[in-house]
Every structure is written in structure tokens, then in C-alpha cells.
Symmetry: C2
């Protein structure tokens, strides 16, 4: 049996390695268009930034090591230019040869290339991408040769990593993003924390604006934005998205959707004997049920492995899991991570949902180094099913997102999070971990014990309700919503008459710093007959929301602050 | 309605706080025997060690703050000395008063005291415990007053934390543990890593031995061990276990089991109107189904909260979850954590299980700072259900254990771990995370793709099989099993005849450094007709196993090592 694998990185190489483990006798040929296989594509930005210093570390395996360990026939610089699914063969263009190769099973894992929008001047040699080892080496050379200014087009995960890497090398870096904020899948209020961090790293962030053209210059190019502003650049990194490299496969009649190969639950394509995995495929999202491409290394690796099972053990092979879509990025001191669906994807899928905001400490508050994990969690309105979660913070973000990704995969409801026995000692968590607290808040929301209001309701709330701020006067003085009434939560029971007078029949909308004290106050008010609700995530969330909108609605009375 | 809560720390205070949020009108009285409520009991060792410097940080709440925020009537130095469950009242001994207090609902969360074994001399004033703020303050004073030598009796979680804290303060510390290794619930092969770390911290570790007596001296006491050896001590910290503080409740006829209060799925005791939570209760273990005390802060806090629900909203209250028993401890540079059942508890419960050992990196190997997470995972033999997991390592241990605790709670099987979409970027994980890899190894074991052998079989294997070590010659030279054959896995396919000759009809037992390469080699051998198995966890696990047994069976041929 001959298994031909197209693409020698994540999905393809996982498939080839697993196939060998299952079948010592199969002939396994891996065809890789580029010069390297099994390279550390996720590590490239860190090489550019100088954290990874040895380029050889980026090459996790070589054709020689794969031959020795797994008896794989790995052919680099070998591009598949045609497939005949009826005759079961592929046409390969190697460096000085074009030949046909028949297969019994064909695994397509060609990956994707950088999307090149139709932008005038984008063919300038100063425009680079960061997809291959060669890209990284060449960017690093530019840096060492004295590049001073860089413009990164696109502030997705790779764009952010590239921008930070170049800033680490001392370049003057600007990031341009068409979406309203960096890391577009992040919720607005979390993305603002990322924006602030980028600014702290010295990076200029231009969001909500398109690049109009690249003007070539003698000493530098100029990126011209839609508003006419001009950014000079020695290096321009293009990272506005990717495009599946599927032309020969689509031409062979293999079913594709917007250029990406459609696969079934076992990674099978529309052509018998042909499987596909990775960036070039579309999968059904585990949460929304919507088909979408998932360009992540983890799912690609695992799908590749499961495809080998389906080829060699079709009767017992596990299905390729529907992706939950967990992703993470380091941004300076911060970590930003997400799993499952966000508000906009749920809205697009028509799933009625509720949003929770929490800011718990990553570990015991009394233990040195405590810092907040800023959490946004989406739950299904009907039953509290966990739909998605995002987090930003200095520490403990990856852990909480991984636990939530596991809970989502398990089909847990938000109140099931109450019951999780998570590892607690002061350096690691709290007796009620951030995850448990999420469950408790979610259960309160689902049972009506807690009613929330949100930053996006601010204008309406200011018009029609009393905003009651239950922080201390000192906290209040650092910034507050104009017109709000300040009564600390510890005095509320004794001062309900003041609330009643000020509300004058209007609803009361409570807020505090993070949502904990306003939750307590809400219970007091609700049980005293008020129409009450608590601001989800409190001032921390509100400030981020307003920051993202460049709104300065908050007041800071200096007199009070000095008092 | 009057709710009386006995015990003002984890479970009791959670119950009281939740009760107030649910019912603004209830009278809620908290009776605490000690001087403080809501104190950071898990933080005490870090105060002794000097990482937490401000004693006030240990007091998370005070009676005053709880009155203000939650209208709780908190009475410290108030001990419940009797309960009349028929009349529904408790007898309270306060500082200068004894009084009766009636209740509509009674919540018992009295906690536990240090177990005091019947050891001669244990009444010496130099014998301390570390359960209260006063204990911590007094230990800290001793340290500042020039104590130089400490003996810690018991190397459980708190004993280890206390030992490290005292060593951090420059004391000469010995730990004495009756069990064969520190942290008795840890598997032997992981506990050895903890032992090595303790030694690195300068702590003397005496395991598998009992303390026989404490001899009081003028300048110092002497701890005499069962073998006659003597340890001088300015401070002796007693931490050999705890005993539930339930005497008045057991006397009141509330059903107890070995001194701990028996509760049902809603935290109800045998007496109507009486609930209990925390260290003084026994619960049904979620994995083994065996009733056992779980003296952990997390479950106590969550049970307390759910009890308030059951008191005030009995129709909709969630059940108190059966504990999975997740615990974690920092030991120097290491973290050790565990969740679910271990080998001995599974054996005791009669659950047939298989054990997996893995040593994956916590993040991408090519990213700076990569280090191994040493994992031991127990799965049910019949279907691969996850039963328990333990891990030791420098980084990323808490995350993996929390994910596994979540998976265990969700009733996942080991192969479900393959499908988890965990957050991957080079600083955080690997494209195939340690958890995914556990799933893959587990699936291989369950399907028979991988057959394992274990360190405990070493003697038998040496007698009856060929041990084939597939590491490189340089690795082999650093230490190997006498009589083993060394063929690197990359040469195995070409040298099968050598294996056949050396095996001479015997089974082949393969090993490498961590179990990955021997897994590959096993597949080659198994498919070539050999009776083959791969050493679970490889040399890393074997060395730890042998280390724990003080066995020096491994050879280190200096000639080869110099080659």
C-alpha cells in the first residue's frame, strides 16, 4: 500500500508518522513544496524577535531523521500540481523533474498562504510574510541589516506576534487593522487591554482603518492609509489572513467551499481514497454548528493522526473532533486566549446567549504576585450551556481557558463549573477558583438570583435609571459615571431611603469595581423591592469598553481624589 | 428564621455569606471557637517562610467587615459545647458566658485539629502545629528568636510546606514520615522527584520510619526515631494528620463515621435541620465510590455555599458534588499535584486499572525554558475511563491537573483527551499538548497498539526477557540496565536480526528515555513478530522508581561515557 501525503508540516506529518506506527509495511511518501518539513511555524515570530536564537531549533525534524526513525520517504521542494482521483495518482513538480506518483490513499495537508489583498504596491520587495523558515530568516536579516521602521498589516494572532517581535528588536512598529480592534475574534472589552499593552510596548496601533496603498521609495516604502496618513517602513509584514493552497485539488474536482477542502467527520474529502486536514480544510464548528476554516496547529496535528487511523483501521477509527477553536497569544506581559464562540459568532448563528464578566485573581489575593484574570464567558440563554470563553491577564490565563475548553467539549453547563475540583494552594489559585466563581455567577444569572446590565446599555441606563455606585468614596473619586449616586455597599442597608429618594421610581442600576460588591448590593435591593441590576464586570469592564470606543464619559473630580 | 453556623472559616463562612445573599431577612449567627474568622489557613506556611510578610493579610475578613457587608452576627471565641437536635438549640461557651441559642437551621463546619499520636513527650512546648493564625505567629516568633533546628513530623502537604518555610528561614530542617515517601498520596515514582527537591532545599528526609518519642531538653528537644537515631530540635512541627472536631455533635446523636460527620448528597446530617461541610465530614469519593474525609479548602467552600441553597431553596438546590480530591503543593522549584484516585486507592476499591507515564514538555521544546511535566495517569482497564492523574514538574503542572480534574468530573475516557482543543502557542504548550499526548498513549494502550511494561516488573523482566534499549549510545552510556542490548531506534529496522539472535526466543522488552522512541520501536518489533512491550515512562520513570527504593541496579560504564 502506498500512502501519499501532500504537505510535510503539522497535519501531513502527523498523518505520515501515525501511518507508519500502524503499518510497518506501507510505503509512505511525503511531498512538501517548501525546503523544510516539520518546522516550527508557530515559533517563527520568536525567532524574529530574538527569543529563539538558533535557527536549527526551528527544524524539528528533517527528511533524514524521518527516514531513520519512521522510514518515511520525505521529498522537499516537491509540489503536487495535479491529481487524478480516478486513476489515483498525483503529478509532482520537483526541482528538475515532473513525475506522476500513484497512491492507494492520498492525504492533503497543503496548508495556506498569506492572503494578498488587491492593494497597489503590495508587490514591493519590502513587503514580507511570516509563514516559512525562509521568511523568518530573511526578516531577521533585515533587522540585523539595520531596518528601523516596520508596518504590520493585520493585527490577528500572527500580526501581533510579528509586531512584538520587531519591537523587541528595537524597530519602530505600527500595526494597521481594518477591524475596530486588534485580535478581531476577541471581545471589544478584552481587546482594549491588548491595545493598551501594545501601546506600552511602544507599538503604534491603528485600528478600524484600511491600508490604501504601498508607495515604493528609495530608502523606504510608505504605507498610505485610507485617511491619507502615511507610515514609512523599511519592512512591511503582510498578515491580513490566509488563503488555502488548494488550486490543484479543486481543479481535480475535490469539493471545496470558498477555496477550502470540505471534509466529513473522518477527514474524508468528496473523492474516494482522498483525505484532508489542516489550514486548507473547513470543519463544522463544535459550538455554532457553522462550517468554517480553523487555521490552528493543534486541530491540524490531531486531524492528521486520526486520518491515518481512518486509512488503516477504518472500522475503529475515531471521528475527527469538531473544532472548539481554542487560541492563545502572548502580548508583552499579557496573555490573551479564547475558546468556543464569541458574541458575534453566536449572533451570526442565531444562538441566544448571555455574557458574564469576571475579574478574579489568578491565585490567592494574600499571596505575592496576585493579578487579575479578565474573563468573558458566553452561555446559552435557555439552559446555561457553555458556548465560549475569553480571558486576558498576566498569569493563569492559559489554565482557565484550557479548563473551559475542556468543559465546552464535555458539554458542561455553566453551573457545572461550580463543582470542578481544581488544584488549590495559594500560589496556584483560590479556594473558589476563577472557574468555580464563573459557575456561581452563571448559576445566579440562570436562576434569576443575579440580574446583569452591560456597558453597551450605558447611555440608555443614564437616561432612564439611577446608577448606584457601591464602591468606597476613595474609589469613586478616581472616576465615576456622571449623575451616579455613591453609597458604599457596607452602608447600603442603612441608607436604602436615600436610594429610594434618588431613584424616584426609576430602576436602580448598581455598579462597583469588578461586579462582586454590586452583586451583593443587588441582592439587598432586589429583596427590598427595587427594580435592580448589577453591572457585569463593573468599572473594570466599563472602562475597557469605553476605552475601546475612545469615549471619555467618566468623570474624575480631582478635589474628591485629593480628599 | 435563624441560621446558626458553627465554624467561621471555609465551609461555614461560605454558607453564611451565601445564606445572606439568598435571604436578606434571615438572622445569621456564626460561632467561631478561635479568635479569627475567614483567615487564610492555606497561607500560614508562606507567612512562616516569609513570603507573606504582613500578618494582617492572613485575615481575609473580620467580624466587623462581615457585619457591614453581609449583616452577619459573627461571634469569635465562641465554642459550641452541646447540641439539642430535638429542641433545636446549641449551647455556646463564650469567653465569660455560657448560653443557649436556638436555630431553625444549623450548619456544622467545625473543621479538624492536628492529630496527636500517643507519643511520649509530645506535650513538650517545643511541639507546635500549624493550623491557626496564632500557630503561625508563634512559629514566626520562634524563628525570629533564633531557632536553628526544626523537625517536622509528617510529610503530607502541610508538613512539606512547613518544612520548606522553615528551611527558607535558614533553619536546619528534618522531615520524618512513616510512609515510604513524602506526600503519601503521590505515586512512588513521582514522590522521588519531591524527595530529591527537598534534599536540594537542604532538608533532611527520613521516610519509612516512625518517631518513637520526644525527649525534652534544656536548650532543645530531641526527636528519637524508631531506629534509635536522634534529631535535635528547637521547634517540632506536628503534622501527621487531622482529627475532626466533632465531639459535641457526635454526643448529640448526629451520625458520624470514625469521628467525621456523615452527610448526604445535599450536605444534610442524620438530624433534621442540621447540615455539615468541610474537614469534619466524610463524602463519597467521585471516582472510587468509597466514603472518605476530604480535608481540602475548595470542596469545603463549595459545599458550604450549596448547603445554604438547600436550606433556603430546597426545591432547586444543586447536590454537593462528590469530591474528586484535587490537591497541589509547591516544593521549591517544583509543583506536585494530583486528582482523582491513585494506584493504591484503586487497588483498595477493587478497580482494575492501567497506568500511563509520560514526560512531555510543558511548552514547545524549541521555545526557551522548556521543561518536563512528569505525568502518571490511571485509567479503567475495561474502557479507558479516566480515574486519576498526578504530575510533578517545574511549570504547567497545575494546568494539566486542572484539565484532567475537569475531564474526570465530566466522565471522559482517556481517548477523549485526544480531542481537547487546548490553547497552543509556543510559550504555553505544544501543538499536541501533554493532555492530547496522554489521550494518544491511552488510546494506543486500550486498542493494543501499545503494550507496556513497568518498573516494578524489572527483576522479572531481567530474568526472562531481552531488554532492548533504543536510546543513542551516548545516552546509554550514562546508565543502563545490566544485560540490556543497545540499538538506537533509528537503526532498528536494519538490525532486527541482532535482536532476534539476542532474544533467542525470549520476549523483547524495549525501553528508551521517556517512552516515545520505545513506543516506535515496539511497533516495529510487534509487526515483525516479536513478543514486545515498551517501558512505561522509560528510563526517567525507572530511575525515579529505583531511586525511591534506594536501588543501584543501573550501571554507568565510565569507558563508554568517555567515548
Amino acid at each position: 500500500m502506498r500512502i501519499v501525503v501532500v504537505g510535510g508540516v503539522a497535519g501531513g506529518m502527523s498523518s505520515a508518522a501515525r501511518a507508519r506506527r500502524l503499518d510497518e509495511n506501507a510505503e509512505i511518501v511525503v511531498l512538501e513544496r517548501g525546503a523544510h518539513v516539520s518546522f516550527a511555524n508557530c515559533g517563527l515570530p520568536y525567532f524574529v524577535g530574538g527569543e529563539i536564537t538558533d535557527a536549527s531549533k526551528l527544524l524539528v525534524q528533517t527528511p533524514q531523521s524521518l527516514r531513520a526513525a519512521l522510514d518515511l520517504d520525505v521529498r522537499t521542494r516537491s509540489e503536487v500540481i495535479a491529481v487524478d482521483t480516478a486513476a489515483k495518482n498525483v503529478t509532482v513538480r520537483a526541482e528538475d523533474d515532473v513525475y506522476e506518483l500513484s497512491y492507494d490513499a492520498l492525504v492533503l495537508s497543503p496548508g495556506a498562504s498569506a492572503l494578498r489583498p488587491p492593494l497597489r504596491g503590495l508587490d514591493s520587495p519590502r513587503v514580507r510574510t511570516l509563514r516559512t523558515v525562509e521568511d523568518a530568516l530573511s526578516l531577521r536579516d533585515e533587522v540585523h541589516d539595520g531596518a528601523r521602521r516596520a508596518v504590520v498589516l493585520g493585527a490577528g494572532f500572527i500580526g501581533i506576534e510579528a509586531a512584538e517581535a520587531l519591537a523587541q528588536q528595537g524597530l519602530d512598529v505600527s500595526v494597521v487593522e481594518l477591524a475596530p480592534h486588534p485580535l478581531p475574534p476577541l471581545e471589544t472589552e478584552l481587546a482594549w487591554l491588548v491595545t493598551e499593552q501594545l501601546v506600552e510596548l511602544g507599538i503604534t496601533v491603528r485600528t478600524g482603518i484600511a491600508a490604501a496603498s504601498v508607495e515604493r521609495g528609495e530608502d523606504a516604502d510608505t504605507v498610505v492609509l485610507a485617511d491619507g496618513s502615511r507610515l514609512e517602513a523599511d519592512i512591511i509584514v503582510l498578515s491580513v489572513g490566509v488563503r488555502p493552497d488548494t488550486a490543484p485539488f479543486e481543479a481535480a474536482g475535490i469539493a471545496c467551499e470558498r477555496g477550502a477542502i470540505v471534509v466529513d467527520a473522518h477527514g474524508r474529502t468528496s473523492a474516494p481514497g482522498v483525505w484532508a486536514a489542516g489550514d486548507a480544510t473547513v470543519s463544522v464548528d463544535a459550538v455554532t454548528g457553522i462550517r468554517r476554516p480553523v487555521t490552528l496547529a493543534g486541530p491540524a496535528n490531531r486531524a492528521g493522526r486520526l486520518i491515518a487511523d481512518d486509512i488503516l483501521r477504518p472500522d475503529t477509527a475515531r471521528a475527527v473532533p469538531q473544532p472548539v477553536g481554542t487560541a492563545i497569544v502572548r502580548v508583552g506581559e499579557l496573555t490573551a486566549a479564547l475558546t468556543g464562540a464569541n458574541r458575534s459568532s453566536l449572533d451570526a448563528a442565531g444562538v441566544s446567549h448571555r455574557t458574564l464578566h469576571l475579574h478574579p485573581n489568578q491565585h490567592a489575593g494574600y499571596f505575592p504576585g496576585a493579578s487579575q484574570v479578565h474573563l468573558v464567558v458566553q452561555i446559552r440563554a435557555s439552559d446555561g450551556l457553555l458556548l465560549g470563553a475569553q480571558a486576558v491577564g498576566n498569569e493563569g490565563v492559559d489554565k482557565r481557558i484550557d479548563v473551559l475548553a475542556t468543559a465546552i467539549r464535555a458539554g458542561m453547563r455553566v453551573d457545572d463549573l461550580i463543582d470542578l475540583d481544581l488544584a488549590y494552594a495559594p500560589p496556584y489559585g483560590q479556594a473558589k477558583d476563577a472557574i468555580n466563581l464563573t459557575g456561581m455567577v452563571g448559576e445566579n444569572v440562570m436562576t434569576g438570583t443575579l440580574t446583569l446590565w452591560y456597558p453597551e446599555h450605558l447611555d440608555n441606563v443614564r437616561d432612564s435609571a439611577l446608577i448606584l455606585d457601591v464602591r468606597t468614596p476613595a474609589e469613586y473619586a478616581t472616576g465615576f459615571v456622571p449623575g451616579s449616586l455613591n453609597i458604599p455597599h457596607t452602608e447600603l442597608r442603612d441608607r436604602l431611603d436615600e436610594v429610594r429618594d434618588a431613584a424616584a421610581g426609576r430602576p436602580v442600576r448598581v455598579m462597583c469595581q469588578s461586579g462582586v460588591r454590586s452583586g451583593i448590593a443587588h441582592r439587598v435591593l432586589a429583596q427590598s423591592g427595587f427594580d435592580s441590576a448589577s453591572l457585569s464586570g463593573g468599572m473594570l469592564t466599563l472602562q475597557a469598553w469605553l476605552g475601546a470606543r475612545q469615549s471619555d464619559v467618566l468623570e474624575r473630580p480631582e478635589v474628591l481624589a485629593r480628599a
